[in-house]
């Protein structure tokens, strides 16, 4: 059982690290596309969208711990001591 739990925890940590890396990648690619000296607004808007998504995702990534902590807190006010929110 503990193996499975630590396995899943490992995956979570990896996913988080990859997500941060991809955030920077997307940030860079997004600005690169947006700053292209070409007059195709559709392409430029795609870049803008990348940046927007990346910022929102980064926000949710940073908030992830908080979100689950909030759920745990609300549930605990009803009942049940359960696993503490993940700390990453």
């Amino acid at each position: 059982m503990n193996n499975i739990i630590s396995f899943i925890q490992g995956i979570i940590v990896n996913v988080t690290i990859v997500a941060w890396v991809i955030f920077f990648l997307t940030w860079v690619i997004g600005w690169a596309i947006r700053g292209l000296p070409i007059p195709f607004m559709r392409v430029k808007r795609t870049g803008e969208r990348f940046i927007e998504d990346a910022v929102w995702a980064a926000f949710w990534l940073a908030m992830g711990t908080t979100v689950f902590a909030l759920i745990a807190y609300i549930a605990n006010t009803f009942y049940q001591p359960l696993p503490a929110p993940p700390t990453i």
């Binding site: 059982m1 503990n2 499975i4 739990i5 899943i8 925890q9 995956i11 979570i12 996913v15 988080t16 990859v18 997500a19 991809i22 955030f23 990648l25 997307t26 690619i29 997004g30 795609t46 969208r49 990348f50 998504d53 990346a54 929102w56 995702a57 980064a58 949710w60 990534l61 992830g64 979100v67 689950f68 759920i71 745990a72 609300i74 549930a75 605990n76 009803f78 009942y79 049940q80 359960l82 696993p83 993940p86």
Partner: protein, 461 residues
């Protein structure tokens, strides 16, 4: 511990789902089909986490709703035990009927009518016990099952979300509502409910016939009639003056008229269940006393005048002295089989008034009627006695009478069984179908088919 681990795994799976969603959100690729998964994954995960943290809440909700609607598992088990007992009792009765039919040379009736009924009852019993076992398992393993449901619910990408939701919903609905099954079934069962009541009509018994001095009367013939004079049963006591009538023969569990016939004399009494001495619900002792007969040996007996006083001294097995006293003129009858030698001497104040023969089945009796005033002393010695055995008549068990009655109208046999099918098969099936459909609806609500609650809770739309 096991449940806790399941819940912890489920929790981390939901966290994983959330971060996977975020990861997909961030991907710098313009495929919006893939990106649509991102918010979906995040919302699903958050909802799963809420459900996981509500585990105790769910268990308490089950308890709370059970107490509100008055679900009582004990009552449910009592009901199911009663139903099982009724089916088993009917099966036993049918089996007894089958063997009675076989002994009446009506085996074809038992194989064409009784056997199918017994086998259908067997299937019914298997189905019902399986159902009760299943419901018990759902109830007993509800905590584990809900934890497994939560685990399946939390697997990312909705791989087993609907299965998990279905398990959770089924456990919740069945644990709350299954105990109400008896109430549901009794509310839809038509009132013409009746059962095969051999259990009530027939009882097994020990019948004892005694003479005036509480000695057993061997080979007394017992005929039981109903109030219209129809013969219900016929038995003969054994050499020890009693007969054991098992449940395959039986006596009526209702008031009937019992004639004890012993040679030329016939005593009829009205006997009902209140006069039986009950050992338990199905077995009783019936003791019948012949008030003015004194048995001296096999088929050798004295019939006293009513309300007389008697002193008897047995000098040995074949020599008896009897003193009888009664005010006024009375008759004393001495009865013995013709084929034994009997030597009778009476005191002076008695005279042989009459002597005649009486045939009773294979036995021919000699009846001597002595008339006396006030009191008489009789010396009786007898010899040359051969063992004659019971009168040559066949017994007629009460079960045979019942079976004849039932066979003459098969619907009286079939209707109770159709009612079992109704109350033990169709009723529970309908109820289980209702519960399943509401489980399915609850499962959809929990995110099986559409993540309604999830979307409602998390986005508020």
């Amino acid at each position: 511990m096991y449940i806790n681990n399941l819940i912890i795994i489920a929790y981390y799976l939901s966290v994983l789902g959330y971060y996977l969603g975020v990861l997909i959100y961030m991907l710098p690729i313009p495929f919006y089909g893939l990106k649509k998964w991102a918010p979906q994954l995040m919302i699903d995960s958050v909802f799963s986490a809420i459900l996981i943290f509500s585990y105790t809440l769910i268990m308490n909700v089950i308890k709370y709703f059970s107490s509100i609607i008055g679900a009582d598992w004990n009552a449910f088990y009592l009901w199911s035990i009663k139903e099982i007992g009724m089916i088993a009792g009917t099966m036993t009765s049918l089996r007894l009927m089958g063997s009675a039919l076989a002994s009446m040379n009506l085996k074809f009736v038992s194989s064409s009518l009784i056997s199918p009924l017994i086998s259908s009852l067997t299937y019914l019993l298997i189905f019902f016990i399986t159902l009760v076992t299943l419901l018990t398992a759902l109830r007993m393993y509800a905590p584990v099952l809900i934890a497994i449901g939560l685990l399946l619910h939390a697997v990312p990408f909705r791989l087993s979300r609907s299965a998990g939701a279905m398990i959770i919903a089924t456990v919740i609905i069945f644990t709350i509502a299954a105990p109400l099954m008896p109430a549901f079934i009794s509310s839809i069962t038509p009132s013409l409910y009746q059962q095969i009541e051999y259990g009530r009509e027939i009882v097994s018994s020990k019948i004892v016939v005694e003479d005036a001095l509480s000695h057993r009367v061997p080979y007394a013939l017992i005929e039981i009639h109903n109030r219209n004079g129809v013969l219900l049963a016929k038995y003969v006591t054994g050499a020890d003056g009693e007969i054991l009538v098992g449940s395959d023969k039986g006596i009526p569990n209702s008031t009937s008229y019992w004639s004890i016939i012993y040679g030329p004399y016939n005593y009829t009494v009205q006997i009902g269940p209140k006069q039986y001495h009950w050992f338990n619900e199905t077995f009783c002792l019936v003791k019948i006393k012949l008030p003015d007969i004194i048995v001296l040996s096999e088929y050798v007996f004295v019939k006293l005048p009513t309300h007389s006083r008697v002193i008897i001294s047995r000098l040995n097995a074949s020599y008896v002295v009897i003193s009888v006293s009664k005010q006024g003129a009375s008759d004393l009858f001495i009865v013995y089989p013709r084929n034994i030698d009997v030597n009778i001497t009476v005191s002076n104040n008695a005279t042989l008034y009459k002597q005649y023969g009486y045939g009773w089945y294979n036995i021919s009796f000699v009846v001597r009627d002595y008339r006396f005033n006030n009191n008489v002393t009789v010396n009786i010695s007898f010899s040359g006695q051969t063992i004659m055995g019971p009168p040559s008549t066949t017994e007629y068990p009460y079960m045979n009478y019942l079976v004849r009655q039932k066979i003459s109208s098969p619907s009286t046999l079939i209707i109770p069984i159709t009612q079992f099918i109704y109350s033990v098969f169709i009723g529970p099936m309908v109820y289980v179908a209702i519960l399943l459909s509401s489980s399915y609806a609850l499962a959809r609500l929990l995110g099986g088919a559409e993540p309604r609650i999830a979307r409602l809770i998390i986005t508020g739309i």
